[in-house]
Symmetry: C2
Subunit: 152 residues, 2 copies
């Protein structure tokens, strides 16, 4: 049970920023200093920052950037597949009275959430004690896909 760290040296980050720039050109979106700053901020951390956090960090060296720009830019990047959203449940918290262990599937089109009770997914080989520095309390699997209604 080993926790592999991703490389995140300065050169590695610059490489990713370069890749981001060429990818942006391919995709036909403009490479603005704000966009580079936002991408770089995200590429420099594994802390999965929120919009607000990214905004605050960038303001240290780019005081005029607006929060609106950060929101819009992250949305743009996400739609183009340049970054991903960790929170796959789309905004507001969803509640569940069912305390039986089960997993969830979200339709990426209509955002509906459904339960999955699947034998083969019921007992994953997840350590019940510690993983890295964490004492594991539980886990949940979140599948995403497109439901039948949305495929029609």
């Amino acid at each position: 049970m080993e926790n592999i760290m991703m490389e995140s040296s300065a050169e590695f980050i610059d490489d990713r920023v370069d890749e981001f720039i060429s990818r942006s050109k391919e995709l036909g979106i403009k490479v603005t200093p704000q966009r580079v700053a936002i991408y770089k901020e995200l590429a420099s951390t594994d802390q999965h920052p929120s919009t607000e956090t990214i905004y605050n960090k960038i303001r240290d060296y780019y005081p005029n950037i607006s929060l609106t720009t950060v929101y819009r830019t992250l949305e743009t990047f996400e739609k183009l597949g340049l970054i991903s959203v960790v929170n796959v449940l789309y905004n507001a918290a969803r509640y569940d009275a069912n305390l039986t262990p089960h997993h969830h599937i979200v339709c990426t089109s209509c955002k509906k959430v459904e339960d999955i009770y699947d034998e083969s997914l019921a007992n994953l080989d997840v350590p019940d004690k510690t993983l890295g520095d964490y004492k594991i309390e539980g886990y949940s699997l979140l599948l995403n896909g497109v439901c039948r209604d949305c495929r029609d």
Copy 2:
């Protein structure tokens, strides 16, 4: 790969509401009509409603209930373990520039999110085609636990 449905007949729901009532008494919280309505609403669906959705449904037959009550009640239930929150990432969306497949672990105490690159979790036996009515696009595993800093 079979998708087992949970029973959700009227009697079954009433049973769960009864159980909720006795559990509330054990826990020493008051059983108010609002609380019963909120619990029942949640127990009657597998759609994982948001606070707003629950509020709107209950208003049909309980027009004076306030949204504040629904928020406070769900929070109370969750803290007591009567229900669970599906969105384990705590509020705002979190972004990730790392598109390599990996999983996430959230510290339930400080809400920090970290990446996990773990061999044994890298290839789960998740169907790559369809599960039930869904065309699967991807999945992510969300572990929760307490990080070292928070355990001290």
